[in-house]
Symmetry: C2
Subunit: 193 residues, 2 copies
């Protein structure tokens, strides 16, 4: 997506260890029209997949997932990192998400009420690097007996192995901005059609 | 807002200690058209306040705040409960939010980049009970030398003292659904004009 590439180039900041900071428009301060445009783009790509639910993980996935759900006219649900007092252990699915970037494992949960075996799920997230978050979310989908029909990502670090892992597992992945490298602090995009 | 009242009546569940569970449409599974309608309603009420930024706290405030920011055409920013590796201590504001419901204090942070002394801030959150979250967010606004020009809330527990506290401090509070009581598991709304 041209608009997202332009914003990444203009406002993105590269830190050591291939960290790309986009918190002025994606994951701290959020550009609402950009998220709306991302939702439109995901709808356009996945509109024939029979999506019944949009799934993400708190907190940075909520904005693009919400706008996507608005386009599809289906509910959005987000996996939580903490367990509310109103959710008891036998009423939820849980899995572990490994963040390669932070080198930590987080437990995430989802109420059994909000994913059923009839659901066709579109997973949305802000970043794809090593695929840990998507694999964890898909594990929740599998526990529900539902089916992941697509994965929509705002920014993909194409030099890491997340996309390959997901494609090897049969996922249809649509990333709106694919970064080929961040070497020497310079943001280079993948060549796209 | 009629639509929100209807959804609270239909899908809300009352738990002991005045806990109202609305996680099928507000804070776990999210109804996107409802959030869009809430954003429209906040825009309608606060449109003459010169709002330059919408502020909330992760994670449940993000959906209504994003839709509100889309209406106003201004950025949304959310206070974070964990500190990203790219934010150093001297580059952020921090405050403590006391949750009377959970009886815990959380530290929340906000990058200094995303609130300046010129900002006129609309604070948005999903619930107002004792006002702890709004008071914490306003503390961040004050640290930036900015001004809170309004507070928009989806669901207010009017039988708790949050609204009174905020009004005593001069805040203009707009709640889309005001609950007078949850006694005996029954949801009663405030009479409104």
């Amino acid at each position: 997506m041209k608009l997202l590439q332009e914003m990444v180039l203009k406002h993105g900041k590269v830190f050591p260890n291939n960290v790309l900071k986009v918190d002025s428009f994606v994951n701290h301060q959020i550009d609402a029209p950009l998220m709306k445009a991302a939702g439109d783009a995901f709808f356009d790509y996945f509109k024939n997949k029979g999506v019944t639910k949009v799934l993400t993980i708190e907190a940075s996935g909520i904005a693009p997932a919400l706008m996507t759900a608005l386009c599809f006219g289906v509910p959005m649900v987000f996996a939580k990192k903490t367990q509310p007092s109103t959710l008891k252990k036998d009423t939820l699915y849980e899995t572990e998400v490994f963040s390669f970037t932070k080198n930590v494992v987080s437990r995430v949960i989802l109420s059994k009420e909000y994913l059923t075996s009839d659901d066709k799920v579109l997973i949305i997230d802000d970043f794809l690097a090593n695929g840990g978050a998507v694999i964890g979310l898909d594990d929740l989908v599998k526990q529900a007996g539902a089916q992941t029909v697509g994965v929509g990502i705002l920014i993909e670090k194409s030099f890491q192995d997340g996309r390959k892992k997901l494609e090897d597992n049969g996922f249809d992945v649509r990333s709106l901005c694919r970064i080929a490298s961040l070497d020497d602090g310079k943001i280079c995009f993948e060549n796209e059609e």
